[in-house]
Amino acid sequence: MQFIFDHILTLILFFPVLAAVVVLCLPKDNLKAIRWTALGASLVPFALTVLLWTQFKAGQPGFQFQEQYAWYAAIHSALHLGVDGLSLTMVLLTTLLTPLALLASFNITDRIKAYFMLFLFLETGMLGVFMALDLLIFFVFWEIGLVPMYFLINQWGSEKGEREIWKGIKVQSRNYASLKFIIYTMAGSLGLLLAIQLLGVLFNTYDLQTLYANWAALDPNGAMLHFFNRVLTVSTVKTIAFWAFVIAFAIKIPVWPFHTWLPDAHTEAPTAGSMILAGVLLKLGAYGFLRLVLPLYPAESARYAGWLAFLAVMAIVFGAFAAFGQKDFKRLVAYSSVNHMGFVVLGIAAAARASGTLNANIALNGAVLQMFNHGLSAAGMFFLVGVLYERTHTRNLDDFGGLFPLVPIYGGILIFTSLASLGLPGLNGFVSEFLVVRGSWPVLTLYTAVAMIGLLFTGAYILKGIKYVLHGPLNERWAHGEHKLTEINLREIIVMAPLMALILVIGIYPAWILDVINKAMMMLFH
């Protein structure tokens, strides 16, 4: 038992890899064994995370459960892991969503061995980012996570659809989307990589805690880099590095105008892929802001908070408008992610501007909770879209209509989840969005006011989605014959149940999680 406590993070982190190796050794034809092994294995990190949550001391400052192993001694990088309230929340989200995503994937039959292995690798990649206390390790996991996602979209994405890229040259949409996804992210991380290198060169270490202290202590007017005869001062370099970080994370979140990869990727990804993509991968960007940008660049963040807020508001408003304009149900949900993640960024921007104040803290609490909440509701939404698509093979809103009487249970679940996403009081979305708006209002009044318009349209597009799918005149096609729509099955309900439960619990009693988040935020940005 003591061993487990001492190595709990490494266990959580690498158990999925171990499971992937086990899956590799299973016979190819035994679909059942592969599915259940993968699912069972993914429950282990979840169980361990719950254990971790219970053992976690929210009031204690600093990182807990730290572990450190030599990795790349020559450049002073070590596998340094640890969690605080922020990362713990994210780890919980990840380990919770992965089993659900795996369960949601039980209908996959094509090359499932590779599929499940990639998913397990993906889990490790995401967890690594949340646990890393070493900048280089952070980057390593940040990039590693791209690969499984790329192949998941590329290989198991929707088979239909073509896209013209250049003068009549057409490619499959999923190929286009996956390449766009990985190239966007990699190009975005380029600046991050260079900035990380710069930090490494300066301080000869990648240990985050050391970097926090040293980086801030630099004399802003000192000379840092030379460009031929020009001298770049510390503050200039810091500004450039700041934007390098910001762009990398902004692409991942994604913030307008870097969001264009997201609707493509989401639309083409397999259902479970979308769940994880929206549920966890987008959070990586926001997590990057909170873990790296704000602590490393407090001054720059405050200075450019307005810009950030502007981008966030654009994401909220345009995301909402764009979502409203969609005919494709999955694209609609995808744009809703842009919209919702905008609130996270808005909260972060407010906190950056007014660092250390109560407002900032409230905004941050909201932002982090919004990350968690969006993880739940977006994953749920994508799954529900997937359920519908699997039965009807269409995502076009015009093809549906009046489905409620045919599939009442499904309809109920869809409405419930949609409303959570809409921000109905009593459900989780409301809590977090309220906190964000409450925190940012005094700090960034104008931006927040504009964002409220976006909120309005959030309601509009969600209701539009519900209307087109569930209400209105029944599309007879789904009522009878070979296309008759079947009700959501037990497996699918099991996938949704934990999500819905958490949505409700956080909506009614958010304190259990807010307490952890709040204390973490207090200690991080006091």
Binding site: Y72, A74, E143, Q172, N175, Q197
Partner: protein
């Protein structure tokens, strides 16, 4: 006296080549088995040397010295340091996998393996020689079998042209270096070709400035440095699979390694003076190579030009003259060697079955050849410097080194990462995924067990190093320490 590991490693392939030539050409099976056994033996010994190398003590180890020609101070002098010992291992690996993958060669296998082994002997010799004369001696031995291997067993369309081009380029490079080396020999006044002594010859500054470009560039031609890289993609494409593996996997390292050992280590001041030039050339290599690779339609040309780009990183690492840069270059040599060996093995397997390497004509190869597909995917990830694979472990320190020298270069060089990522992913997708053209249906036979072993072995190495840099970095680091001492501390 301890067992003479290094000379045995160097001469095993040579002796095997002679044995093979004495066998009857009809005994193809016996010939192959003999070749594989010898290669395994060499690999086993190099693994032993690798792990027996004392990293803490560093310096040159397993030293053997036999006076060869005392009159001119030539001796058969072997020894490895932290930089060369991974390369010896690499050569052993490529040798074994190369033989495995060439199992199916049916046209004069006796000569094929004999020439391949002479080549291997030369390569081992260069990596282990501590005598300047012997270094050249083995260097040339490594060059000429290449010609025959490409001309006889190469791709019919370009083999004559490519083989001749390659051989002439390399020969001219080595002879230019040779002149520089002779100048060093006479100027030092030590009357020895012993590099350990020449390291302390303290050449005058002006001498170093004049001769460094000759020596370095002469060797760097084999490392594929811009603008003398032209031979390399042509050579890669024309060569038969195992030879491409050797060529890109080991031979290009030979150039880079010799450029380091003779150029930088013997003429450190010259290196300092000229490092901006080398850096500039290497930068062109990196970026230009990546761009050119991205517009190729021949699978092998893609990899050929990507090698140019990656070898640019090695040169870049050297040119930084910083500990990180040199460590990165050392690791990159190994990593790139394994990676291209795997790439070329995979391309060869696809080509043997589809009889085309034209990327638009291929597709869906992952179904019949799953392991090849996975191999190429992993190779691609390595080549784009994806963390968790050996490429990252190598490239990251190189970039650190560049940052410490001239940060602008790092920023420009970073572009190549994205370019590389985009084209390797595209190539992977086009060749291995999508729909398989109809003419290939039923024609694509699965690969055999030896091929599989070779592929898995190479993959495991790349992932292993990526996850555990400690498998190689401490070795390289101990070697780099010595280079830094020669460069005057730092």
């Amino acid at each position: 006296m301890q067992f003479p590991f290094l000379s045995v490693i160097v001469f095993i392939p040579m002796v095997t080549a002679l044995v093979l030539l004495l066998m009857k050409p009809e005994q193809k099976k016996a010939i192959r088995i003999t070749a594989l056994t010898a290669a395994m033996l060499a690999l086993a010994l190099s693994i032993w040397v690798y792990f027996a190398y004392d990293k803490a003590a560093a310096g040159y180890q397993f030293i053997e010295k036999y006076n060869w020609m005392p009159m001119l101070g030539i001796s058969l002098h072997f020894g490895v340091d932290g930089l060369s010992v991974p390369l010896v291992l690499l050569t052993g690996i490529v040798m074994v996998t190369g033989v495995m993958i060439s199992w199916g060669i049916d046209d004069r296998p006796r000569e094929f393996f004999a020439f391949l082994f002479i080549l291997a002997s030369g390569v081992f010799g260069v990596f282990t020689s501590l005598d300047l004369f012997m270094l050249f001696f083995f260097y040339e031995i490594a060059v000429f079998p290449m010609f025959l291997l490409i001309v006889i067993w190469g791709w019919i369309k370009t083999r004559e042209y490519a083989a001749m081009k390659l051989t002439l380029y390399l020969f001219i490079g080595s002879l230019i270096s040779l002149i520089g080396a002779l100048a060093m020999y006479w100027t030092s006044g030590l009357h020895t070709f012993n590099m350990l002594d020449l390291e302390h010859a303290a050449f005058s500054l002006s001498f170093q400035k004049i001769w460094f470009p000759f020596v370095f560039l002469g060797f760097a031609i084999l490392g594929g440095i811009f603008p003398f890289h032209n031979w390399s993609p042509d050579g890669h494409v024309a060569a038969p699979t195992a030879v491409s593996m050797f060529h890109a996997g080991v031979l290009m390292k030979l150039g880079a390694f010799a450029a380091l050992r003779v150029g930088i280590m013997l003429l450190p001041e010259g290196a300092k003076f000229w490092s901006p030039l080398i850096m500039g050339l290497a930068l062109v290599n990196i970026v230009y190579g990546a761009f050119i690779a991205s517009v190729q339609t021949d699978f092998k040309y893609v990899i050929g030009f990507s090698s140019v780009s990656h070898m640019g990183l090695v040169m870049m690492g050297f040119a930084t003259l910083k500990p990180e840069g040199l460590i990165g270059a050392g690791v990159q040599m190994f990593s790139h060697g394994v990676m291209t060996a795997l790439f070329f093995a995979a391309v060869g397997m696809v080509y043997d079955r589809a009889h085309t390497r034209d990327i638009p004509k291929l597709g869906g190869m992952i179904k019949p050849l799953p392991l090849v597909g996975i191999g190429v995917i992993i190779g691609s990830l390595v080549s784009m410097g994806m963390p968790g694979f050996s490429g990252f472990v190598a490239e990251f320190p190189i970039f650190i080194g560049i940052w410490k020298t001239q940060w602008v270069v790092a920023v420009i060089a970073a572009i190549s990462i994205v370019v590389t990522a985009s084209y390797v992913l595209l190539v992977v997708r086009r060749v291995f995924f999508g729909k398989m053209p109809e003419e290939f249906e039923e024609h694509i036979k699965p690969i055999n067990t030896l091929d599989k072993i070779a592929l898995v072995f190479l993959m495991a190495l790349m992932i292993g190093i990526g996850l555990f840099p400690a498998l190689i970095v401490p070795w390289v680091q101990s070697g780099v320490q010595h280079v830094l001492t020669l460069l005057g501390g730092a």
